[in-house]
Amino acid sequence: MDVWTFLEVAAWALSALFAVLIIADWIRIDSTYDEDVLTSSREGEIEALTEEHR
């Protein structure tokens, strides 16, 4: 097995690793937190506090 064939296998393995990391965390977060908390972000709330228009 030459170095390039090894790199191909390594790239597949790393891809699988990153996919597993993302999906595992996603499932953990979605089952730990309430949907209302996760989707509570509202646009422009920072501006309403820090900037005075008019």
Partner: protein, 470 residues
């Protein structure tokens, strides 16, 4: 597992309904890295098709006219975004200034332009690995694992937090930019020993002035994506200052990089070859005969493609997230990761889409889809700007940056967009029509069906007075 106190209002000054939001951690250098990082890959591949479309001089004219187009884009975006500082960038601008349907379209332009560009970048990584393997004597390397790895690694990076993501972009973008400068210095244009042969290699315009118009299609490649800086608006520490600074510094960097790239490449290769090359700067390094430059530009190509894909994931997910948050898309996408503070579901959702296009669609189609979505977005901007100044004249709201000479940049931008539409028509007329039909069908779907899930007044989030004329 460390849990930050997500409900604390002192953490980032948020109160009201938001329990988990994006986090303001970025500085002007990150804005620069996001804008330039997405674009710089255009100097490493793609811009040279403008040479094929109209010859060497046509590519330079296209480079400068496209530079003018993007300077207008940068000025307009700087003014509007320094005032409308929310994730979603041009989408949020359109929502406040033009109206919901336009905003939905602009959001789709952004997501498609960036996701397609991401797929094109991943394809280029695969091609580069294949080329390097072949040069090292290994024929027939399978590029697929490298395509998949680059998308998944960058998605993971984006998932884990915006600061690390853009620090990564900052470093690799800087390396790729310096590589272009070193290549220019390496050819030593001032000395007698220079390998540049402009006098002998340059020819007349092979297609006449029609070729100059046609070259505008790929002239966009020199700068496509610089408008992505606006997507960071909700994550920079002081948007009113950082966004104009980062965006305008970015466009200046790119005009320099584009002109140097053109100068070196046309002085090293006959235009017929350059016009169809897959990796023009890498070829240019090859022509100098220096192994050090060859390695440097190889690394530069890899870094530029990764920086671009990285910025694309960041921008596409912000736009998709903002639309979900407003219920333009299913509300499920409007979620923020409580620890990493990223729009994690949008990032995850766009991964398989990027993979499908990177593994299944031909490169030129993917690129054209991206360019056309970008072009439709640029056409929207001047109208957006004129309406912005009309509905909220100077002085009625606080602007972070006011661009000079309004409405000249807006009018110049409209004219240049018209020229570019014609250029695209010359090569890809059918795709242009197909794209526009797609957006019309999607718009009707939104207007007639999807819009009923959207709360009306809640979309207007800026603390501004009532627009004039309403």
């Amino acid at each position: 597992m460390a849990q930050t106190d997500i409900a604390s209002p002192v953490a980032d000054g948020m109160v009201h309904a938001t329990k988990v939001g994006l986090v303001r951690v970025l500085g002007p250098a990150h804005v620069w890295a996001l804008g330039v990082g997405i674009v710089l890959v255009g100097e490493y591949m793609g811009w040279n098709f403008a040479v094929g479309k109209g010859g060497a001089y046509a590519a330079l004219i296209a480079c400068w006219f496209a530079g003018l187009l993007y300077s207008c884009v940068a000025m307009i975006d700087s003014e509007v975004t320094s005032t409308v500082a929310a994730a979603g960038g041009q989408y949020t601008q359109a929502k406040h200034i033009v109206g919901p349907l336009m905003a939905f379209n602009v959001g789709l332009y952004l997501v498609f332009a960036y996701t397609m560009l991401e797929a094109a970048n991943a394809l280029t990584v695969g091609f580069l690995m294949e080329t390097v393997a072949a040069m090292a004597g290994h024929e027939g390397l399978n590029p697929q694992p490298f395509i998949v790895l680059s998308i998944l690694f960058l998605a993971w990076l984006n998932y884990r937090g915006v600061l690390a993501t853009l620090n990564f972009s900052l470093v690799i973008t800087a390396v790729a930019f310096v590589a272009i400068l070193i290549l220019f210095l390496g050819t030593a244009p001032w000395s007698d020993a220079t390998p540049l042969r402009h006098a002998e290699l340059m020819t007349d315009l092979p297609y006449g002035w029609l070729g100059v118009l046609a070259a505008m299609h790929f002239g966009l490649w020199y700068y496509l994506g610089i408008e992505g800086t606006c997507q960071a608006a909700e994550e920079v520490r002081s948007p009113a200052r950082s966004l104009p600074f980062g965006t305008l510094a970015g466009i200046m960097t790119l005009v320099i990089a584009a002109t140097l790239t053109w100068y070196v490449c046309v002085g090293l290769m006959p235009w017929e070859y350059l016009g169809q090359s897959g990796v023009p700067l890498f070829d240019a390094a090859r022509m100098t005969g220096s192994t050090a430059l060859l390695v440097l530009l190889g690394v530069g190509t890899l870094f530029a493609t990764l920086a671009s894909a990285n910025g694309c994931i960041n921008d596409a997910s912000r736009a998709w997230f903002s639309m979900g948050r407003d219920h333009y898309l299913p509300a499920w996408f409007g979620a923020v990761h409580p620890v990493y503070r990223t729009p994690y579901r949008s990032i995850i959702f766009l991964v398989p889409i990027a993979l499908v296009f990177a593994l299944g669609a031909p490169l030129d189609q993917v690129v054209t889809f991206s360019i056309l979505s970008g072009l439709l977005g640029y056409t929207f901007m001047p109208f957006n700007m004129i309406m912005f100044r009309r509905k909220w004249p100077l002085g009625s709201i606080k602007r972070g940056y006011v661009h000079p000479m309004h409405p000249v940049p807006a009018i110049v931008l409209i004219l240049l967009c018209a020229v570019t539409f014609f250029a695209v028509f010359l090569g890809y007329g059918t795709q242009l029509i197909a794209m526009v039909v797609f957006y019309i069908v999607a718009s009707l779907w939104f207007h007639l069906r999807r819009y009923r899930y959207v709360k009306r007044a809640d979309q207007f989030t800026m603390p501004w007075p009532k627009p004039q004329g309403y």
